[in-house]
């Protein structure tokens, strides 16, 4: 870790080589943990409410478009794979290749937003709103909160794409790229819990 990281005390410069290295900045990990906590609390609230309304939740869950959800899962997983390739490319000093992988990941993110928008449009046609039922409240809140995170993740990916094009990242400077990549993986991870929880498990 670099000496300007957020550790309680600066690490000695001659750290033993076997010491595990934190990928990305400690600050982004604190942020990621806070994000996971927020989603975690939301998931717990969902589970708690569902336990009291199992039949309603099962019936309304069955009306969701699982194919769209599955397609979005594939898109996010693919985006995460592309981000991994981008990090690997940067480690090999292949800046242009890194930029291309990041662009591909951003495109997958955009695909996610498009699919989700169609889902929302269909939901609103059926008069589904935050007040129409407890399940709809959670479905809309959770997916929209995640939707906003995908947008933020894409903003970060775009900023990194811009950085990669100008050759900012390399084996000596992976901090920014790894931090952004960690954030994107978090967005993906949350969806991997959200999708089965809200769309599938009954």
């Amino acid at each position: 870790m670099d000496s300007t990281g957020l550790t309680a005390s600066p690490l000695p410069h001659s750290a033993p080589p076997a010491m595990p290295r934190l990928a990305g900045d400690l600050a982004i990990w604190i942020f990621i943990l806070a994000e996971l906590l927020a989603f975690g609390v939301f998931f717990a609230a969902y589970a708690f409410t569902r336990a009291n309304n199992i039949e309603l939740f099962n019936a309304e869950q069955a009306a969701l478009n699982r194919n769209a959800g599955a397609l979005n899962t594939v898109l996010l997983l693919t985006a995460s794979y592309f981000v991994v390739r981008a990090v690997q490319a940067a480690e090999l000093r292949a800046s242009q290749s890194c930029a291309r992988w990041l662009l591909a990941a951003t495109a997958c993110g955009a695909g996610f937003l498009v699919v989700k928008s169609f889902e929302y449009a269909a939901a609103f046609e059926h008069d589904i709103s935050l007040s129409s039922s407890p399940f709809h409240m959670f479905y809309l809140s959770l997916t929209f909160f995640h939707f906003m995170h995908v947008i933020l993740g894409m903003v970060i990916l775009t900023a990194m794409w811009n950085g990669a094009r100008t050759g900012r990242y390399g084996p000596d400077d992976m901090n920014g790229l790894e931090s952004g990549a960690a954030y994107w993986h978090m967005v993906d991870l949350v969806w991997l819990v959200l999708f089965p929880l809200v769309y599938v498990i009954h």
Binding site: A27, I30, A38
Partner: protein, 460 residues
């Protein structure tokens, strides 16, 4: 001091401290009125004392924020203030308008004040914390715009740092959200809904940006830790503060007629509001532990560390106590709210303003730090006021728990006034803690007049 124009901060700080004294005196008056109902009646009725107590708090904190900005922005931008003359003019306008408003509260019946000040042109008065007459509200907007113009122009012509950006966004947000005080729809639900856009989005939104910026500035100065490290923390803190604080507004929307989903949104997001305050505490201690220099101003370091801890306890922990909808169903508007309000305002905003005053005032008076004796007194005042506030909070919390139990949870609930009688012991203890707070404040004032050996300002 590095730039001559930073000196305009001095009258702002002095006025802030003066109004702080007034706020505490009125706090003691109304604290006594809780147990001796007709104390000073009819000269100063309870509702007037309360209005003066809360309005003075807000006004002196605004003086503190403006003073802080006038001190910080030239140093951050590495250039003189755009217009020191404008800053001084606005100071006098704000002080006179504020003083006249308080005199109006005390000398006139509120309805007469409303009639005299044109409330019938645009009805904005009569709402908690936004009691100011229309002309005062317009005056606040004019002063705020002039102030923002001045510091924004200063920043535009100089160096743009993350700290000054965060401070500026916070101050602009403060001014913009205040505009909702002019919007007073007849629909009570809407009225309350937007009322919180001033009250909540100030203290749990944009003010947190100001708090973060002030703390970061002082920590850079007293610890000598790299700016990049401190700025990184600042970004994490303000992002957490904004995400939890903005949606956390929902914790005021449980019972005012808004849709039910606010109970979930408000509970979940506001339950996370302690996070930025926790991060702030870790941040402050971390930076002080990694300090690269021993700054001679020990008192300022103490205030900075105290801000983190007390803001976390008062705003974070005491806020969390009653923020979840099922809990708030019982505790809403009880003495638990008062307990939270006291420690949160003291821990977050009073202490951060005292932090910047503690750091900047000696420099404004031509020395890096106050003489040792003065600092010792100032640190005594820190402990007296802080411990007194802890006790005020604990007594009010006890009063609140008993109140909720007797008045709301019980199978045979008591009336409001009968309950107040039952909890009077705690109100007495709170009043005595308030007296200790006043003693602490007097010690604080005395510390400004203690003389002794000082090192020159160039040492900073």
């Amino acid at each position: 001091m590095q730039y001559k124009s930073q000196a305009v901060a001095k009258p702002y700080f002095i006025a802030a401290i003066g109004l702080f004294v007034g706020q505490i005196l009125f706090g003691l008056i109304m604290g006594l009125q809780y147990v001796v109902g007709d104390f000073l009646f009819p000269e100063i009725p309870f509702n007037i004392a309360r209005m003066v107590h809360t309005n003075l708090l807000i006004v002196w904190l605004l003086f503190g924020f403006m003073g802080a900005a006038y001190y910080m922005i030239p140093e951050e931008a590495e250039t003189e203030l755009f217009s020191p003359k404008l800053a001084l003019t606005l100071f006098w306008i704000f002080l006179v308008a504020g003083a006249l408003t308080i005199v109006g509260y005390l000398a006139l019946p509120y309805a007469t004040l409303a009639k005299l000040t044109g409330n019938d042109i645009l009805e904005t008065m009569g709402r908690e914390f936004l009691e100011q007459p229309l002309i005062t509200k317009v005056g606040i907007v004019i002063v705020a715009l002039g102030f923002l113009f001045n510091i924004t122009m200063t920043m535009l012509k100089g160096r743009k740092t993350s700290i000054s950006m965060v401070l500026l966004v916070g101050l602009w947000g403060l001014a913009i959200f205040f505009l909702f005080s002019f919007y007073n729809p007849h629909n009570l639900v809407k009225d309350k809904f937007y009322w919180w856009w001033v009250v909540h989005l100030w203290v749990e939104g944009v003010w947190e940006l100001i708090l973060g910026a002030l703390l970061a500035f002082v920590l850079i100065k007293v610890t000598g830790v790299d700016r990049e490290v401190i700025e990184k923390w600042l970004y994490v803190i303000i992002t957490l503060a904004l995400v939890t604080g903005l949606i956390g507004t929902g914790h005021h929307y449980y019972w005012i007629g808004t849709p039910e989903y606010w109970q979930w949104w408000g509970s979940i997001f506001s339950a996370l509001e302690p996070l930025p305050f926790f991060a702030m505490t870790v941040f402050a201690f971390n930076m002080v532990n990694r300090r690269r220099r021993e700054h001679p101003n020990k008192a300022a370091v103490l205030w900075a560390l105290g801000t983190g801890v007390m803001a976390f306890l008062g705003a974070g922990v005491w806020g969390f106590l009653h923020t979840l909808a099922p809990v708030n169903y019982y505790t809403h508007g009880s003495q638990i709210t008062a307990a939270h309000g006291h420690m949160a305002f003291y821990g977050a905003y009073v202490m951060v303003v005292l932090t910047i005053i503690s750091y900047a005032m000696p420099i404004l008076r031509g020395r890096a730090a106050n003489p040792e004796k003065a600092q010792v007194l100032e640190m005594w005042s820190f402990w007296l006021m802080t411990i007194a506030m802890v006790f005020i909070t604990l007594f009010l919390t006890a009063a609140g728990i008993l109140q909720v139990w007797l008045q709301r949870v019980s199978d045979t609930p008591m009336s409001f006034m009968a309950t107040q009688d039952q909890i009077s012991l705690f109100f007495w203890m709170r009043e005595w803690a308030g007296v200790v707070f006043l003693i602490g404040l007097i010690v604080y004032l005395v510390s400004f007049f203690v003389k002794g050996d000082t090192r020159s300002a160039s040492a900073s």
